[in-house]
Amino acid sequence: MKPLLLAACLALPLAAQPFQFDLRHLESKATETLDLSLTHSTLRLAARFMDDKDPEDAEVKKLIEGIEGIYIKSFDFKDGELSKADLDRVREQLRAPEWLRTVGFKNREERDTAEVYVREVNKKVAGVAMICAGPKALTVVNIAGPVDLDSLADLSGHFGVPKLDGKRK
C-alpha cells in the first residue's frame, strides 16, 4: 500500500506539469539553436510590467493570462541534415486524441511543412503547438495551458498574426 501511495504522490506533480517537447535528438545536429522557455512565473512577472494603455502590451497580457508556459525552440541546420525521421519524432509526441491537428501544410518541392495542433482536455483548449520546418530550419512553438484562440487571433495586425481557422483534419 505504501509504495502505491508514494508512487501516486510522485505522479501528481508530473501530471500537473505542462507538456513539453523532447527535441534532444535535434540539438546535436543543429548549427544554431534558439531556446526560449517561459514558465508560468515568468509570464506572470512579465504581465505585471505590461502597460495596459499600450494596445500591444494589453493584447499580449490578455493572451498570456492563465497560460502555463510558452516554449519555443528554433534550429538551423546544414542543408539535408534535417530528415523526415527527425520531424516524425517531433510529430509523434503530439498524439491523438489529446492533440488534434488543425492546420497542415506540405510542399514537397520546397521541402516545407507547417502544422498547427491544438491540445484538448475535457473539451477545453489546453495548449497549442506549431511545427514549422524548412530544408534548413525548424521552429517548434508550444503554448501550454488554456490558450484563448480568440486572443491569439486578436493579435492580428500588431505582430502580423493571422486569424486561425478551427477546422479539424
Binding site: 526560449l36 517561459l38 515568468t42 509570464l43 512577472l45 512579465a46 505585471r48 510590467f49 505590461m50 500591444e56 499580449v60 493572451l63 498570456i64 510558452i70 519555443i72 528554433s74 492546420v103 501544410f105 510542399n107 516545407d112 507547417a114 498547427v116 506549431m130 514549422c132 521552429t139 512553438v141 503554448i143 491569439l152 493579435l155 500588431h158 505582430f159 502580423g160 498574426v161 493571422p162 486569424k163 486561425l164
Partner: protein, 92 residues
C-alpha cells in the same frame, strides 16, 4: 659598546610624554567624533539599501521577462503568418 649600539639605545630609550599629552589626545578624539549613528538607524539604512536593491533586481527581471514574452509572441506571430500564407497559396 660601539657607537651604533649607543645610537640605538638612545633612539629607542623610553621617554615619558610631555605634560598634558593625554588630555590633548582625548580632546582631539572627541572633536573627530562628528556623528555617531544609533544602531537602529544603521539597521534601518541597511534594510532600505537591501530592499531598494531587491526592488531594482525585481524590476530588471520583470523587464527582461517582458522582452522575452514579446519576443516569443513575435516568433509565434511570424510562424502563424507563414502558415497562413502557405495555406492561402493552396486555397486562395
Amino acid at each position: 659598546m660601539d657607537w651604533l649600539e649607543q645610537e640605538l639605545k638612545h633612539a629607542l630609550a623610553r621617554k615619558d610624554p610631555p605634560p598634558g599629552f593625554a588630555a590633548r589626545v582625548r580632546r582631539a578624539a572627541g572633536r573627530s567624533r562628528v556623528f555617531t549613528m544609533p544602531r537602529w538607524m544603521a539597521a534601518t539604512a541597511a534594510l532600505l539599501v537591501v530592499t531598494g536593491a531587491g526592488i531594482g533586481w525585481r524590476e530588471h527581471r520583470g523587464r527582461v521577462a517582458k522582452e522575452q514574452v514579446m519576443m516569443a509572441v513575435r516568433i509565434t506571430a511570424v510562424q502563424l503568418n507563414r502558415i497562413q500564407t502557405r495555406v492561402r497559396e493552396v486555397r486562395p
